[in-house]
């Protein structure tokens, strides 16, 4: 234990000198380990085809985790993402089913809908002062109820061409994966090079201080929550194109799953620290791990254990704050 702490502290110190976040390196190294293991264990893992598949498969988790990252950066958390994915998917599939010509407008409506729910989450959090964890559990419950009120079964459908969003390729590159990467790049740029982006860090770091500095912290928080809703709705649209229907139970697993890449990628619950690059690496780590475990044809149950342990390993190898006291 002792050498372990010492090592990680020493690595941390040297990275700090390079202005690199050590937790980022940890995910990166784990990612490399998974890749090497993949190459060694299966001759089909390392193919371009498979890696492109993984990129395609990681799109949904990518979109949602990206949204989640923004909320986490302003010091919040969103446990309604699963419900929003579901609601936007059902909404989209239901409307388009009978009016396929409305495809493009409905995409816009769905993204607006997600943004609105995100905004509502933010608004309720700011207005009531209730912890976002609780607020979003509440909105999730309401949304799930509403969706199930509308339909208990997978419903609706989309025109075939829309499946290209989920399955289409430009050359070898999956469209969905590329869109996800573009979204990440856009958010990364926003966070790094715009005043709004820097404000997000400030608000997450210390809300009152941000206000005193002249930042409109409410508007910044609302932006983060709304943007989260936007990306989550995008994930909903992706799911519709991938499954062809609006499924009222679709989003459930992604709620907790979306937090993992965020924290593994070095963001701090509580806000103000981290980088969406880390989240992206986290998303890749989880997706590749899933893929690799599928290839190894081992029992799902063992897969769970392995996943849990790797997550723990990823976040505990580098104890993020060396306690001063």
């Amino acid at each position: 234990m002792k050498w372990y702490s010492k090592m990680s502290r020493r690595i941390g110190n040297s990275l700090r000198r390079l202005h690199l976040d050590p937790s980022l390196l940890v995910v990166f190294v784990l990612l490399v380990i998974v890749l090497i293991a993949g190459f060694a264990l299966s001759d089909r893992f390392g193919t371009v085809r498979n890696l492109m598949n993984v990129l395609e498969q990681s799109a949904a988790l990518g979109f949602v985790s990206l949204g989640q990252s923004l909320v986490v950066l302003v010091g919040g958390i969103d446990l309604s993402v699963g419900a929003v994915v579901t609601a936007s998917a059902v909404l989209m599939a239901a409307v388009v089913d009978s009016n396929p010509e409305l495809m493009i407008p409905i995409i816009i409506v769905v993204l607006a809908f997600g943004t609105l729910i995100g905004y509502l989450n933010g608004y309720l959090t700011l207005k009531t002062g209730v912890h976002p964890l609780i607020v979003t559990i509440g909105t999730a419950s309401v949304l799930n109820g509403l969706v199930l009120l509308y339909t208990l079964q997978p419903t609706g459908g989309v025109p075939f061409w829309f499946e290209e969003f989920a399955y289409g390729r430009i050359g070898p590159l999956p469209i969905a994966g590329v869109i996800m990467l573009i979204c990440f790049a856009a958010v990364w740029y926003l966070l790094k090079y715009t005043t709004l982006g820097r404000s997000i860090y400030a608000v997450g770091g210390d809300e009152e201080a941000a206000r005193l500095t002249g930042i409109n912290s409410k508007r910044t928080s609302l932006f983060a929550y709304s943007a989260c809703g936007f990306f989550v709705a995008l994930a909903g649209a992706y799911y519709v194109s991938r499954t062809g229907v609006g499924d009222p139970r679709l989003g459930e697993p992604i709620t907790l799953a979306s937090i993992t890449p965020v924290i593994v990628g070095g963001l701090l619950l509580g806000g103000g620290k981290g980088n969406v690059l880390g989240t992206l690496l986290g998303v890749f780590l989880i997706s590749l791990l899933n893929n690799l475990l599928n290839y190894m044809n081992i029992s799902t149950f063992i897969q769970w254990v392995v996943q849990g342990l790797i997550i723990l390993f990823a976040v505990s190898i580098y104890a993020s704050k060396v306690k001063k006291l």
Binding site: R16, H19, Y189, K192, Y193, T194, T195, R198, S199, Y201, A202, G205, D206, A209, A210, R211, L212, T213, G214, I215, N216, G272, K273, K324, L325
Partner: protein
Amino acid sequence: MLELTGITKTFPGVNALDRVDFEAQSGEIHALLGENGAGKSTLIKVLAGAYIPDEGTIRYDGIERHWASPRAAKDAGIYVIYQELVLFPELSVAENIFLGRAPKTRFGAIDYGKMHSSASEVLNRLGHNLDPRTLVHRLSLADQQMVEIAKSLVDDTKLLVLDEPTALISGRETELLFECINNMRMSGVCIIYISHRLEEIFELADRVTVLKDGQKVDTRPVSELNRELLISLMVGRELDDIYPEKTLPPKEPAPVLSVRDLKAPPTVKNVSFDLHAGEIVGMAGLVGAGRSDMAHAIFGSLPRIDGAVTLSGETFNTPTPRMAINRGLGFLTEDRKGQGLLMLLDMASNVSAPVLREFTNAFGIDRQFEIQAAKDEIERFRIAIPSATSDVVHLSGGNQQKILFARWSRACHRVLILDEPTRGVDVGAKVEIYEIIKKLADEGVGILVISSELPEIIGLCTRVLVMREGLISGEVTGSQISETTIMRLATTSVAA
């Protein structure tokens, strides 16, 4: 320039400001004085748009203003350096300085290159060399304060407010700061300056406004004032002698605390000293000299790589706070709110925290006993608090500090390390705290006072250790104790 009339602001249960009038002009330094809790910071926040006043009007630049947010006031040229640092620890120095107003490239993106060079330039003007890329949480409090001050120099500021800017810095930094402030005054900026250090007021200010219990007492030119007058305006009574009389304790052969070759890098390089029962020893030094870290290392709350601490003849190499407390060593830290008080608990629980065991019987904590003990302490230290079960959040700084004195003097009878015991405490409370320190020493407690206020060290201590860059650079005793001897040891490097 600025005119506040009839400003009233109440918080639940507190009337923080009561019909206060205040006025300041371009090109003047207007000092705002008052005891802790007098309402100075509240007044500042009202004029800067951070609080909306219940009543009263703000005229600024000839126009009546109703600030919607701090942003609005800032856009109008009002810049405030708040008492509690308004910094973002996870952002870099440059980003903190330029937050919300960063230089942009042609494409509207933040221009980091330009931002870093401007930040360096601003810091240089304050005589401070910091890498603008460093994350702020890696800086010492003093450096953070300098960043805070640098922020004010960037904008086109017309009204600058500084709320206790020198509480965390000392010596050379203070001088440079004063130089900057004076320059700004020359260029017509209106400056409102708050400090508990009266010397600074006389050095800097043109006029002084004194607040007391949320009401304005008076506004006068500095030239009409002297120290005694000022103090009596602030506390409403005369204070003839601030410091208690120095007495030397009977010298015992064995020190009660002895520190040998203590090393806790990077701040504490090698420290050795002795402390005897009943002694009041000062520990002086520039900010960042490593005094606080040294205290933490002795107390066991900061890991050290080498060195031995001997407490009443018992030596240990890896102490923990628990061991220190059990052997009678108490430590009152410099960060009252962050490292001292338990804001969510009542006063009695605050006092009993380090020695809960004493208050525990077979049925758990003996609440009656605990409250009784707290009552005794309230009496002993004359703490102004409604009852032993009141919250401590809303107390003034002085009373909060007294509660910590009660806690540590009750728990530890051999040695007390006091880190900045009067930081942010008003004059009235200061005097009482000096008396407490003296009384404890007379009871036989060895006391180490770490302070950045030289007058305090000089007035209080019979022996002064000076620390510089993690080393003890010297020791002065008795009549040799003076500002010049101490400052020389604190600034020049020790001969090898």
